[in-house]
Subunit: 340 residues, 2 copies
């Protein structure tokens, strides 16, 4: 069913995975922009930068020397937000409530080539990144103090990324962060009621409908979720219900790498720029349970709205009310799809 | 009770108003910054700018001419995200759920003087802004289609503000946005259980403790909430439990204006810049109920972290996990308080 009202009138859509709403104002994209423009850096970077603390063979701020790595290189974050051997405490002092939180934070260099991003890497090389994610996830999930592993990437200066060398991060911790907790609750409730995967059933509906599908291969679908918040937000979903990326066999890992390649390449074409975003993989907790209600997925949250220099600001109303978007998910699909 | 563990170890704190957690990493402020710097504009603006569409007597984009206003001027947003006479519809198509959302969006110019911000205005002039908020809130709350009124300000280009003329916005709508819904639920649960105001009881505890108090006068307290997310986040709370700003008498409105003046002036001194932020007032729904569980309050969410040019990026982990902060609420209090 295609509902044209969704393209014409202000409305809100439900994110079935979090239980929260997004306000959609299709007519608002017409408003002129007189605000801040972002800087675009389209300068070509060298394959090796002697001042980069992530390049192979270079010395990091803490004095350690990076190996002469050939593919992927992982190390423990020198300025980790979560500490491994932090003191354990719990405070419940009237209405002041706090809990110590321990964890392990890692940095993962996707390639020794300083000039590349995932969009420029071969599918085979992205598959090596997927293998590294699996390896790290496995190791962390076996740690009894780690109950959740967040894999993510901040790409581009506008996303707070302080080094253009292709890299992502892994923050793992003892409790579930807010966003994961919401998705855990929603998926569990649905699974208990329907004995099937919430995201799997949603995927089936989207594949039937086709309106928000960007790309698919044997094992994965790339789509713009009905409830997308960011102008060009997308999601990569495995067709089989899998709780974590550990379930991927080699062929599926290659299909996953292809999906990442396709969407990041399309993004770069959209505004003719190395497209900034934060991406992240939401997976089942690593608490030792089977978590059969979980269906892992990867999301891309890119900030740009109109061009390489004009982004969507999630500010006043969005911070105090609800997220709000100006173009519909369906128009975003059309723009992205035409570039594949 | 002062707990020094909170200053030394990574931990999470509970926001009692939303039920969500913030990750605090006190040790992380030491990390060097090599990322994006914001542009600072400390250029002195003229009191009148002929190209500004908010200045008195100027023509707006839609052709309307602003009156020669002397104090505060309110008009309906020319590019409103919410439409008043939008079509009403409701979609429940399998796992696709959407509802039409109607509303009224207004712009409120705080002063005809293009060069000013709230921090530069007299307390008497800020009181006029408070009166205007009351007037608009009253009118909108009497509209049967409006069940919630969000008053907010985006200040500074880094907060998506496209015009430096001092102004804020009011978005009003038929349903409760996410953030308000959470605060409604938490306050109601507490009120039912304790027959007292959640925020009132929290305020009493903070006034006893004093560690996070920045300023107080007869009717208001300015504090850094225990669960603050943004590096220099603050909250203005009325001492009396009031559901909305309509309850303020003239003296209280003046005290409120003083609180706004004190905190915005301190902000400007912090990094010697016109301090950017989004601020917003959370109040009871305007659904016709008494909402005795509500205690209105105003929050300031400023993005800057280390200087006028280095902000805190709420990106990867924050988007996929939980908000995360690098300096503790208690150190922020010390820095802000020393400037009053
Ligand atoms: O309404 P403005 O000032 O044009 O727009 C600004 O505030 C709005 C409400 O927070 C946001 O949706 C926009 O992204 C932002 O640029
Ligand atoms: O860890 P980095 O890359 O230095 O820092 C970046 O990502 C972190 C995790 O999303 C954020 O907390 C920081 O604000 C951001 O600048």
């Amino acid at each position: 069913m295609k509902n044209t009202d969704l393209q014409d009138y202000s409305h809100k859509r439900l994110n079935i995975l979090t239980g929260e709403w997004v306000l959609v104002s299709p007519h608002r994209a017409k408003r002129p922009w007189q605000g801040q423009n972002e800087a675009v850096s389209n300068d070509v970077r060298p394959a090796y930068d002697e001042t980069c603390y992530l390049c192979a063979g270079n010395t990091r701020i803490n004095g350690e020397i990076n190996p002469k790595y050939q593919n992927v290189f992982v190390f423990t974050n020198d300025f980790a937000a979560l500490q491994k051997d932090s003191k354990s405490f719990s405070i419940k002092d009237g209405l002041l409530v706090a809990e110590s939180e321990t964890g392990i934070c890692k940095v993962i260099c996707f390639s020794p080539d300083h000039s590349k991003s995932l969009a420029d890497m071969s599918v085979k090389d992205i598959q090596k990144v997927v293998f590294a994610w699996q390896k790290e996830f496995k190791e962390l999930s076996e740690n009894p103090n780690i109950n959740y592993v967040q894999i993510f990437e901040n790409k581009g200066a506008v996303m707070g990324c302080s080094n253009p060398h292709p890299h992502g991060q892994i923050w793992s911790q003892s409790t579930l962060p807010n966003e994961v907790d919401k998705k855990n609750t929603q998926q569990l409730a649905y699974y208990k009621k329907n004995n099937s995967s919430l995201l799997g059933d949603y995927l089936a509906q989207e594949l039937e409908n086709q309106e928000r599908i960007i790309f698919e291969n044997d094992s994965f679908v790339v789509l713009v979720p009905f409830w997308a918040v960011w102008p060009f937000e997308t999601m990569i979903v495995p067709k089989k219900q899998q709780a974590t990326i550990l379930k991927l066999n080699n062929t599926e890992a290659l299909d996953y790498a292809e999906a990442i390649s396709v969407i990041t390449k399309a993004y770069d074409k959209l505004f003719n720029t190395s497209f900034p975003y934060s991406s992240g993989i939401h997976q089942a907790p690593t608490d030792g349970n089977t978590n059969s209600h979980w269906h892992w997925h990867m999301s891309f949250y890119p900030p740009l709205l109109r061009s390489a220099t004009v982004k969507k600001f999630m500010v006043g109303y969005e911070m105090f009310g609800s997220p709000q978007r100006d173009i519909t998910a369906e128009s975003a699909v059309k723009m992205i799809k035409s570039l594949i």
